[in-house]
């Protein structure tokens, strides 16, 4: 009885830990789980499928890195620092756009 309660408690803690993004974010549990799942995945997949999946994953990752990755993190910091300037420039360019469109309409009329 005691052993089954212990077993249930341990299973409960493991499932909660691996399903919680927050716990993953803390590091150790997540890393352990990832290593385990990687070994499991490698054992299950055939090598051809694995290579193709790896190539696809690598291409996808490169595409994402270009669009959203580390350079994007650095860029977001720069944009945030200069947000006053970007917002003011955006407002000004929109104003110019509206004025041009207005004068075009007047000429057309």
């Amino acid at each position: 009885m005691k052993r089954s309660i212990f077993f249930a408690l341990i299973t409960f803690l493991i499932v909660i830990a691996i399903q919680s993004d927050y716990v993953f974010a803390q590091g150790s549990f997540g890393t352990g789980f990832q290593i385990g799942s990687q070994i499991g995945a490698q054992a299950l997949s055939s090598s051809a499928n694995e290579k193709r999946a790896q190539a696809e994953e690598s291409a996808r990752r490169q595409q994402l890195i270009r669009q959203y990755g580390r350079p994007a993190l650095e860029r977001i910091d720069a944009l945030e620092k200069d947000a006053d300037r970007w917002a003011a420039e955006m407002a000004l360019s929109l104003k110019e756009m509206r004025e041009k469109s207005k004068s075009r309409n007047q000429v057309a009329q």
Partner: protein
């Protein structure tokens, strides 16, 4: 027999609690806002802070979500290329796609007042987690940001549901 029953009950319990704790984002939100920002009945438009993302599907989807959340607060969306809105909302987002989890995710949004000609509200969300999927990560963050908008100055730690 009793052990099996106990195990089945435990698994059902785990399934239930697992579902409720899965897909949560731990995030820290920093806000700098001027007091008494009037939003109800005011016009706005949403634009990309990073112009290179303006045409991306992710940006368009998040923009639609911001418009929806702001409209829910009684604000009126206009096309800023045709009519001058009271507020311009500019936002950007990025995730760390390094090889090691946890990945860092950031969301930044500013609200520019076209009458006062300066930014009246800034918000930054920083989060870390195992997922770096832009399509899954940012919609709940956007929802969180515009639910608390226009929050006053300060930091808050929140667990955001996906």
């Amino acid at each position: 027999m009793r052990i099996y029953r106990l195990i089945i009950v435990s698994f059902l319990f785990l399934l239930f609690t697992g579902c409720s704790t899965a897909n949560k984002i731990a995030a820290t939100t920093a806000t700098i806002g001027e007091p008494n920002i009037k939003i109800a009945g005011e016009s706005f438009d949403v634009l990309a802070l990073d112009f290179s993302k303006a045409t991306s599907l992710d940006f368009q989807s998040l923009r639609a979500q911001v418009i929806q959340e702001m409209s829910r607060k009684g604000m009126i969306q206009v096309n800023a290329t045709k009519v001058e809105p009271r507020y311009l909302i500019l936002f950007d987002y990025a995730v760390d796609l390094g090889d090691e989890s946890p990945y860092e995710r950031r969301f930044v949004a500013v609200t520019y007042d076209t009458k006062l000609e300066h930014i009246v509200h800034r918000i930054r969300v920083i989060s870390k987690g195992t997922s770096n999927d832009v399509g899954n990560i940012f919609p709940p963050i956007v929802k969180h940001v515009y639910e608390i908008f226009p929050a006053s100055n300060g930091f808050q730690n929140a667990t955001i549901g996906m």
